[in-house]
């Protein structure tokens, strides 16, 4: 009698373990499938960039002849120029935008002044207009100032940076989590507001500073719309996105497809490495931003 009971309970426990093993195996299989799907395009682009037997898109993945021709050929085009343009824009934007965003978000998190709420509501409403609409006029104004086409680098930096104060949400959310009594304690200790920011808040905000720099860098690095609008048809003023996009036009794709892949790899590698190194901070920012809305 008691033996029967024991075996039954043993069976139940066995069942639990076995079902756990099955569900774990399934989970791993699913994850492997997902990973493969996620990796295929990147693997393909990498393989195609080494394909030298033809330069047009083909229906197979593995090159028949391998080589570095595509990478070598890149240097006979405007690609290096685009690359430098992009790098300069991304670095300048990262620096300036970080300063502006942090000023904005720190102020809105820490100061209580009369216009604060209306200001935030106003910016919320402004954000509902499609940003692209402003391009029409900005293009003409920048053109009058001589900051388009070949000179579009400073013009684009201005466009990227000028309105970046509106993207204060994520870092404000972060500042909101730093206890306000730290500010108060520091002010009682004799610090001015500026000293509070410099000596207390900034040292505590490393994750969000890095997040802001990272996103500010990645924005221009991959920007297509604004760059296309401002550089408008002048090769020397383009960034990599616009330049490479043009290579896939109907009349260019046959000659430049594999070169596009090579260029894409060169553009993706540095930013991917940067991103992977700073992933921790990025996750912190994204998660915090979503939770605080």
């Amino acid at each position: 009698m008691s033996q029967a009971n024991a075996s039954q309970s043993l069976k139940r426990h066995m069942g639990l373990k076995a079902s756990q093993r099955i569900s774990n195996t399934t989970a791993h299989i699913v994850l492997v499938i997902i990973s493969v799907i996620w990796l295929i395009p990147f693997v393909c682009i990498l393989l195609q960039s080494f394909r030298v037997e033809s330069t047009y898109p083909v229906g197979y993945v593995k090159p028949e002849k391998w080589g570095l021709d595509n990478y070598r050929n890149l240097f006979n085009t405007d690609f290096p120029r685009w690359y430098v343009n992009t790098l300069v824009m991304a670095l300048c934007t990262a620096a300036l935008q970080t300063v502006i965003v942090l000023c904005m978000s720190y102020t809105l998190s820490r100061f209580r002044f009369k216009m604060r709420k209306p200001l935030m509501q106003f910016m919320l409403i402004l954000g509902m207009f499609p940003g692209m609409l402003t391009m029409i006029i900005l293009y003409r104004v920048l053109k009058d100032l001589g900051m388009t086409q070949a000179n579009s680098v400073p013009g684009l930096i201005l466009v990227y940076v000028a309105s970046s104060g509106m993207g204060y949400y994520v870092s404000k959310g972060f500042f909101d989590t730093i206890s306000k009594s730290l500010d108060e304690a520091a002010r009682m200790d004799g610090a001015t507001r500026f000293q509070v920011l410099k000596k207390i808040i900034l040292p505590l905000s490393k994750p969000i500073v890095i997040y802001t720099v990272l996103t500010a860098f990645m924005g221009p690095w991959g920007d297509f719309v604004f760059a296309r609008y401002i550089a408008f048809g002048t090769s020397s003023g383009m960034n990599v996105a616009v330049g490479l996009y043009n290579w896939l036009n109907r009349d260019q794709i046959a000659n430049n497809y594999t070169m596009f892949c090579a260029g894409g790899v060169l553009v993706a590698i540095p930013v991917t490495i940067l991103f992977m190194c700073l992933q921790k901070y990025y996750v912190e920012g994204v998660t915090g931003g979503a939770v605080k809305g």
């Binding site: 009594s181 108060e184 304690a185 520091a186 002010r187 009682m188 001015t192 040292p203 505590l204």
Partner: protein, 376 residues
Amino acid sequence: MASVKLTGVKKIYDNKVVAVHDFDLEIKDKEFVVFVGPSGCGKSTTLRMIAGLEEISEGTLEIDGEVVNDLQPKDRDIAMVFQNYALYPHMTVFDNIAFSLRLKKMPEDEVFEKVTQAAEILGITEYLTRRPRALSGGQRQRVAIGRAIVRNPKVFLMDEPLSNLDAKLRNQMRAEIILLREKLNTTFVYVTHDQTEAMTLGDRIVIMKDGFIMQVGTPEEVFDTPHNLFVATFIGSPQMNLFSAELTQEGTGYTVSYRNIRVPLDAERCALLKAHGVSGTKKVILGVRPEHMTLCFNGEENAAHGVIAVNEMMGSELHLHVESGEEKNVILRIPTIELSAAQRASLVHGSDLGFTFSSKVVQLFDPETEQSLLFS
């Protein structure tokens, strides 16, 4: 080392909510004043107005005779200890304490001397190189106090400094604050919601409710002569028992009666009632503290009866919660030493019990205004 004077101080928020109404108080030099009250009573707001962290909407604040309404916190020469300690997490204990001195551009060797001195007073010398994260609650509290004392401020403000500590540590730190106070010998303003802290620490206690001061006085005064129902019930634990009773004037004397109990009041209380112009027969709220209740075992006439609902054995004393007619929770605090074994055995859940009280301990309140008929 300074006096603090608040005259008609008011705090009105942007949404027209009044957090503090006409706050008048003069804090003498080297006095330890405690603001106490339930949460939302405006005690912290008042403290933060003294600190300069909140704007003063109306009235004047003087420190050492100088009006400081418009001064920045850093220019008021005050120090404050926060409820959550507000230690700078990225600095070591030493840097935390030294922060204010360095902002004043004090030479580094002088900073060192002052910080180590403060650390010694508080017994945190061995933690000076640690970061706040690596400290226990009590140690953090000490660092926060150290940060305040090193500045040698005119006034020392403390905003619920002990409420984040566990009960045992709280008792210990309370004692240390008393010692510290003797060492520093300066003016203290202390905010707490805990009446025990208020009673043990304060030279004077300011009891607040809904932005109004209910009573200001020494611990003895607020305990023995509460001005109103709120103070009477807020101070003392377990809280004062309240009965709806009747007060009758009989010639020159007064008698208060509750159910079977009829207590003629003593001369002192009669004089006070007369001074308040109480006459005739009047419904009153009668207040008696649990420790002033007397048990009646022998079926005395002058006693009210009830049923024991809960019986709490606290060791040195017994707390009895009694249901007695209208009053559902009359509490009696009986020292165990005064009870015989047989008496103790009879005081169990559900058993009947008689109680009474003497004239000297009676508090009387007007049911409408809730003001004391004796001491307001």
